[in-house]
């Protein structure tokens, strides 16, 4: 139902509506035209920032923070998630921590991270790491624990040792779930990085957007938002293709 063609058509449609609405407003002056930037305004702002290299700089800063924070969190979540399946006492210790921390919105800890790590890169990376770690860990642990006993039994009867079981059964069996968890983590990272860059930052897309507010430049806000949206869609599409290629064996022909 939702093909690429209809989606592109929908996006073009949206663009047209946006252009129409804002141009009419600019002409008739219902609202201060600065507050409702037209696509052209946004395009102009984008070009300005591209030319000065600012856009690229802030984009890369945000990406670097996401990559580092997510990377750390993913590795830890993977390691601990696997271990949880193999080590019952660890599971008993991990569960209370998760239950306690899970309901608290990660953004509530942002100021804490600023206090702990100061205003530099470390606080942003640590915050992204914290935000993405728990959901990924929970998802990975769940998919590890869900590995069917029957597969373990089959491998053991074929002569598998414990190391064999981990490497050749548990990991491949949990892989689909792990990939989903990673996709979830990236999505979450992109979701919160903006917020994390609203305060205590002097670089990044979130900062750029907030600057648009401070200097009363809504076109810059819209530009930042659109860039983020584009980034998210691109990353998501990339991850989905990678996922499909890696996990082609799941589909019946």
């Amino acid at each position: 139902m939702r093909t690429a063609a209809t989606r592109t058509a929908a996006l073009i449609g949206a663009l047209v509506v946006w252009a129409a609405f804002t141009s009419v407003n600019a002409r008739l002056g219902w609202v201060n035209p600065v507050l409702l930037p037209t696509p052209v305004d946004v395009g102009r702002a984008t070009l300005d920032l591209l030319r000065s290299g600012e856009l690229i700089r802030h984009l890369l800063t945000s990406l670097a923070r996401v990559a580092e924070g997510f990377g750390l969190a993913a590795l830890t979540a993977l390691g601990l998630g696997l271990l949880v399946g193999l080590c019952v006492p660890l599971r008993l210790v991990a569960e209370p921590v998760i239950e306690f921390v899970r309901p608290i919105p990660p953004l509530a800890f942002l100021p804490m991270f600023l206090v702990w790590f100061g205003l530099g890169e470390a606080s942003k990376i640590a915050f992204i790491g914290y935000t993405t770690f728990f959901p990924m860990f929970v998802a990975i642990a769940a998919s590890v624990l869900r590995v069917d006993v029957v597969l373990l039994r089959a491998a053991a009867s074929l002569g598998a040792s414990r190391a064999d079981l981990v490497r050749r059964v548990i990991l491949p069996a949990a892989l689909p779930g792990i990939v989903v968890a990673l996709r979830l983590g990236i999505g979450l990272a992109l979701f919160v990085i903006v917020g994390a860059e609203f305060m205590g930052a002097d670089a990044g897309l979130g900062h750029l957007i907030m600057e648009g507010r401070v200097f009363f430049n809504p076109a810059q806000i819209v530009m930042g938002a659109l860039v983020l949206g584009l980034l998210g869609s691109l990353l998501n599409a990339l991850l989905l293709t990678a996922e499909r290629r890696m996990l082609g064996w799941r589909l019946p022909s």
């Binding site: 039994r153 089959a154 053991a156 009867s157 074929l158 069996a173 064996w249 022909s253």
Partner: protein, 258 residues
């Protein structure tokens, strides 16, 4: 013939599970010897513990009392000398048919050329050579089970344990696979312990049929099936065995419903 002594010795094995703090006996004392190259069927109503017994011989469960000896040595967990075929196929979905069949040899580090020969041989045996590069998701139930059998055989175990392997298949496929198994056994001569609840299947395949009681499982009666290697399901002798065994099983089933 081979060494003296039975291949599998089940001695005084009993198993009890604790459910919600209470002990639920699944198996009461079972004593059974399985000779080498024999195909023995464990037959009985649902829940009579036959699968539990098989799992104990396979080494997936430890018995509450008693021991299982294989070649005179106690069983202490699963091992490659006891291959298993499961009712749910248990194929590794991320591996192709080839990947599945060569799993055991690959674990032992056999060289690629040797593995390829092994895979070819056993896929040929179960009639699935053309499907070597398919994934389990692309196969039918009957084909999956044949891959499972090939996988177990490729590891060259002396013993094969089969837990209602054809239970999830339709009647037609079921009979086809019974024919296949009979044919394979005539070639490979493994020692097979086969769990089923189908009397017809048991009479078709087994050298001996062990009828088990309902919970807690015990051996009720052992029937020696004196029929030729290639069996005719409609021969009067066949049907006679069927009705003899049916009578015994029906009495056990009636007890379950009391």
């Amino acid at each position: 013939m081979t060494t003296a002594g039975p291949k599998i010795q089940i001695q005084g094995v009993a198993k009890s599970f604790s459910v919600a703090g209470r002990a639920m006996p699944a198996l009461a004392e079972v004593d059974l010897d399985v000779a080498e190259h024999e195909l023995v069927c464990l037959l009985g109503p649902s829940g009579c513990g036959k699968s539990t017994l098989l799992n104990i011989v396979a080494g997936f469960l430890a018995p509450s009392t008693g021991t299982v000896l294989v070649d005179g040595r106690p069983v202490n967990g699963p091992g490659p000398e006891r291959g298993v075929v499961f009712q749910e196929y248990a194929l590794f979905p991320w591996l192709t048919v080839t990947g599945n069949v060569e799993f055991g040899p690959a674990l032992r580090g056999r060289p690629a050329a040797e593995r390829r020969r092994t895979v070819d041989r056993y896929l040929e045996l179960v009639g699935l050579r053309p499907h070597a590069e398919k994934y389990p998701a692309q196969l039918s139930g009957g084909m999956k089970q044949r891959v499972a059998i090939a996988r177990a055989l490729a590891n060259d175990p002396a013993i094969i344990l089969m837990d209602e392997p054809f239970g999830a298949l339709d009647a037609q496929t079921r009979e086809t696979l019974q024919d296949e198994l009979s044919r394979i056994q005539r070639v490979e001569h493994k020692t097979i312990l086969f769990v089923t609840h189908s009397i017809r299947e048991a009479v078709y395949l087994a050298d001996r049929v062990v009828v088990m009681t309902s919970v807690p499982g015990r051996i009720r009666q052992v029937f020696a099936i004196k029929l030729p290697e290639v069996r005719d399901r409609f021969a009067p002798e066949f049907t006679q065995y069927e009705s003899d065994i049916t009578r015994v099983v029906k009495e056990e089933v009636a007890k379950v419903h009391e």
